[in-house]
């Protein structure tokens, strides 16, 4: 299963990533970061197809998706 990582310090809560996700794998959470922005969070990462659209559209370089292949390559557990 692909994993979602949000850099809480960089995220400004524009939620463009949530809008572009074609599989609705991520959504807005009820958590706020230290600046008071709403953070995105995973809803169902088993739906994630690894299209990386969320990484591509993030204006603040705050979101990252690790696919199974990458995790395997970096020696993590799959």
């Amino acid at each position: 299963m692909n994993r979602l990582y949000i850099n809480q310090d960089y995220c400004k809560g524009c939620l463009i990533c949530v809008d572009v996700c074609p599989k609705h794998a991520i959504g807005a959470s009820d958590r706020l970061n230290s600046k008071g922005y709403i953070l995105p969070d995973e809803i169902d990462m088993s739906e994630c197809s690894g299209c990386m659209l969320c990484e591509m559209v993030c204006p603040d370089f705050a979101i990252a998706v690790e696919t199974d292949e990458e995790a395997y390559r970096h020696g993590g557990e799959t």
Partner: protein, 276 residues
């Protein structure tokens, strides 16, 4: 923990402390364009075997122009308002093998730097101009710009703009650029592909990227991106332009002699004549 793959090209810490997160407002299109450009440059560095030192970023002044020397690990210049292109010209003449990418906004390229823009296109200099068009002057408070569409309310035209907007793509094509395209921030894959084509092109490549300004237009970034998608139409899909929709796509892609190549020809011609 995996981090964003493009952070390897960004300065996260400077002499005066942390530089990230960026200075941009939440949901700003300029940050998205930076992301697309880094994706394109990453691909070019990998596929073409170009060194990181051969890519140079230059910008003028404005929201869009804050993207270069503050955040990029590449050689970059944050220069004079509207005069990013003359400085790019200088850098190119000093070293014609450079890949120069100019970040400019609609106010920077079309208002104060309009003349420089026209003549860079006319000379067909080997630069890639990424014009981030949000349709107003964002940094100074959302005033009307030459690229504001007619009827749009801004802080200085509260009852709607009476002027017609400047068409950057038509202007660049008429002035003689080799590659002209228009995309929006809501078209990530197309924009990345277009930036790659533009950087690989010998000659001027003008890519206008329609962008959102959620702060001055007083709307959410997501709504503005949806609107950008709804109000644009690809020139591939339609032969006639539907009323009220902006055409997007690659308008012009031709091979023309580039300025530094022609200049080099003159140098070789005359230096061989002297040797005779």
């Amino acid at each position: 923990m995996k981090r964003h793959p493009m952070l390897k090209y960004l300065k996260e810490k400077g002499p005066a402390g942390p530089r990230m997160p960026t200075i941009m407002c939440p949901g700003c299109g300029a940050g998205q364009v930076l992301n697309y450009t880094l994706h394109a440059v990453d691909d070019i560095l990998r596929e073409d075997g170009i060194k990181k030192e051969e890519v140079v970023f230059i910008s003028g002044v404005g929201c869009s122009s804050r993207l270069t020397s503050h955040y990029l690990e590449f050689d970059s210049g944050w220069t004079i308002h509207g005069r990013a292109l003359p400085i790019a010209t200088g850098a190119l003449l000093a070293n014609p093998s450079l890949k120069i990418i100019v970040f400019t906004g609609d106010g920077d390229a079309m208002a104060i730097g309009g003349n420089h823009f026209i003549h860079t296109c006319r000379r067909n200099l080997n630069v890639t101009i990424l014009c981030i068009n949000n349709g107003l002057y964002g940094m100074t408070g959302g005033q009307v710009a030459p690229t504001t569409p007619a009827g749009i309310a801004t802080t200085t035209t509260p009852y709607g703009n009476i002027e017609e907007a400047f068409d950057i793509c038509k202007m660049a094509e008429t002035a003689g650029a080799s590659y002209v395209a228009r995309w929006t921030t809501a078209h990530p894959r197309q924009t990345i592909k277009s930036i790659k084509q533009g950087v690989r092109k010998r000659g001027s490549a003008v890519i206008e990227i329609l962008s959102q300004c959620p702060v001055h237009k007083k709307a959410s970034a997501v709504d503005m991106l949806r609107e950008l998608k709804a109000t644009t139409v690809s020139i591939k899909k339609t032969s006639c332009q539907p009323k009220g929709k902006t055409p997007i796509g690659v308008f012009c892609d031709k091979n023309k002699p580039e300025w530094t190549e022609k200049y080099q020809e003159i140098i070789t011609q005359h230096s061989s004549r002297e040797n005779r």
